[in-house]
């Protein structure tokens, strides 16, 4: 199978997943106790007559399958509904907040991938030694703490006690003139340090674990023995031969965990009042704005599905064995 055919087939695989998400949303709004109208508009003071009008407009009188197609076509057109809490279309709201979330995600993800892989390789190089126990042990700790609790502790220690870094938000709110240029960048970076470190620690831990396990598996292979008997240097064996092959499963895991990464980012945002999707969803939870929450589920799902698609395609390019299988 050619690479192109593989990519096309892989895209066709993600269609059922997208459907599953849309079906979940549709079923939920109809299966929830009470009337969908009450769910979506109930917190506003609507009269009986208005409810009838909304019901007509939403097509709630039509048969269920027809309603599903209406819903589907709306979503495919990018219409995720209207948030009554923010009085704005949901898609627009998320488009405004996504950059801040992506900034936080990248700032925590990229360093943790690099450091995680280096530490994982180091641990596998000295497997079952003191260094290994130190690295894998710490990774286990980093993997087990609740992200938001780590954030709370970090705020207390670094912002409240030591006063080194700002605890909340993405920029300093001042009455004086707004910061511009380099000052602005520095200000955002200072606000980024704590949330990105807390979130990154957690990813770092899981990448260390996966890299180490994957390396140990590869180091058993015959070609490593060959490389050793050829008298290659350790560095070349570990980074040149073994890591090249051990990285592929790690890549898959990173792709598969994009969902967890989003979850972590959203929770971290809530702790640090970072103005991204997390804060948006939090407002949706407090005000029980279901259109907003459904939009959040849909959008994160789409991001995760596409991220998966991309990692799988990168995987196929890096490892020709995959597409020729």
């Amino acid at each position: 199978m050619s690479l192109r055919a593989y990519v096309l087939r892989r895209i066709s695989y993600s269609i059922p997943t997208i459907f599953l998400v849309i079906i979940f949303n549709f079923v939920l709004i109809h299966a929830a106790p009470g009337d969908p109208v009450i769910y979506l508009y109930g917190h506003l003071d609507v009269t009986g007559q208005q409810i009838e009008i909304i019901r007509e407009a939403m097509g709630l009188r039509k048969p269920l399958y027809e309603q599903f197609f209406i819903y589907l076509s709306r979503i495919l057109r990018g219409d995720l509904g209207y948030s009554f809490y923010f009085r704005q279309p949901v898609a627009e709201l998320f488009a405004q907040k996504l950059p801040a979330t992506l900034l936080l995600m990248c700032a925590s993800l990229l360093p943790s991938i690099v450091i995680g892989i280096v530490l994982g390789v180091t641990a596998s190089r000295h497997a079952r030694s003191r260094i290994d126990y130190l690295i894998s042990g710490s990774a286990m700790y980093g993997y087990s703490f609740p992200v938001f609790w780590g954030g709370m502790v970090a705020i207390v220690v670094f912002s409240v006690w030591l006063g080194w870094l700002p605890a909340m938000g993405m920029t300093t709110l001042t009455v004086a003139e707004e910061k511009v240029g380099l000052d602005y960048v520095v200000d955002v970076l200072r606000h980024l340090v704590l949330p990105a470190t807390v979130l990154g620690t957690w990813y770092l831990a899981s990448y260390v674990r996966f890299t180490r396990a994957s390396m140990l598996e590869v180091l058993e292979k015959d070609y490593i023995v060959t490389a050793r008997s050829k008298g290659l240097e350790d560095r070349q064996i570990y980074y040149g031969h073994a890591l090249k092959n051990a990285l592929l499963p790690v890549l898959t895991v990173i792709g598969l965990e994009i969902g967890m990464i989003f979850t972590g980012a959203v929770i971290t945002e809530t702790v640090f009042a970072w103005p991204g999707m997390g804060s948006l969803l939090n407002a949706g939870i407090v005000s029980r704005d279901y259109t907003l929450l459904m939009g959040g589920f849909l959008i994160t799902s789409m991001c995760v599905i596409s991220a998966n698609l991309v990692t799988d395609c990168v995987y196929a390019i890096l490892d020709p064995r995959i597409s020729y299988r």
Binding site: T17, M140, I155
Partner: protein, 271 residues
């Protein structure tokens, strides 16, 4: 089991779990005070009277942590058991029967594994109510795919073993082979999955509570942290101790899971 014993971390982890369960179950007898009793002693720092201090309405944090363990651990176990039951059923059927049926079930499992379930949980819990039983069920029903994958692999390889052929020759039906012959052999891997699921469910309940989607009628560690957000600067003990208990419990379940994996995997052991 002997291999498990060699894994020092896992033994400590198991001990921590046993202590946690014991303290939670016995909390009515061992807790120093009433977890719900409101006193005038608000936000008192840790002292001999209140080892973990008091919260914003003067309740003893230590007593609340002990009582909170009951619900938090219960959420962990119930959700994990639900996830295991569904996962083993789906994965077991797929692995045992194989073919088209396997393809279909696994495609569904993969699709489910990809979607960010936490957001689905958020949505469901906010719509169907935040009662603790709801939370347990929803967390359980959304975390089975990983277990299904593990169960499928086990059932697939075990169903090709000779003892399964022998049972079939002796006239055992599919159900009997699956439950009496394959399942007991797959149990160790399922136990690993259980341990990891308990840890995951405890973390997820805490995250839900933290976002304000916890059951306000019960005490859980997550619920305590939710209450502590606004008092972090004046009463760090309100946030430190419940979080520390979540951390220790999750760490314990994860190390036990790791220890079991090592003990089950002889190839990785002799290195």
């Amino acid at each position: 089991m002997r291999e498990f014993g060699k894994h020092r971390g896992a033994v400590v982890g198991l001990a921590v779990i046993v202590v946690m369960i014991a303290v939670s179950v016995l909390s009515p007898y061992v807790a120093p005070g009433n977890p719900e009793e409101i006193t005038q002693e608000r936000l008192a720092p840790p002292s001999w009277n209140h080892l973990m201090g008091t919260d914003n309405v003067g309740r003893d944090v230590l007593s609340r942590v002990m009582w909170g363990g009951r619900i938090s651990l219960a959420v962990g176990f119930v959700a994990a058991v639900i996830a295991i039951l569904v996962g083993v059923l789906v994965g077991g059927l797929a692995g045992y029967f194989g073919g088209r049926f396997d393809d279909l079930l696994m495609r569904f499992t993969d699709a489910f594994m990809v979607i960010p379930t936490f957001f689905l949980v958020l949505l469901i819990v906010s719509m169907f109510g935040t009662a603790i039983t709801n939370i347990m069920i929803v967390l359980g029903l959304t975390s089975w795919p990983q277990t299904a994958r593990i169960a499928r692999a086990e059932f697939l390889s075990l169903s090709k073993m000779e003892f399964v052929d022998a049972a079939r020759v002796l006239g055992a039906g599919s159900a009997r082979i699956m439950f009496r012959h394959i399942l007991p052999n797959a149990l160790p891997s399922i136990l690993v999955a259980l341990s990891m699921r308990v840890a995951g469910a405890i973390l997820n309940e805490a995250a839900l509570s933290f976002l304000g989607l916890g059951d306000i009628n019960v005490i859980t560690w997550g619920q305590m942290l939710h209450g502590a957000i606004r008092y972090m600067t004046v009463g760090w003990w309100m946030a430190i101790f419940p979080g520390l208990f979540i951390f220790l419990t999750v760490l314990a379940f994860n190390t036990v899971g790791d220890g079991l994996t090592d003990a089950l995997n002889p190839r990785l052991r002799h290195r």
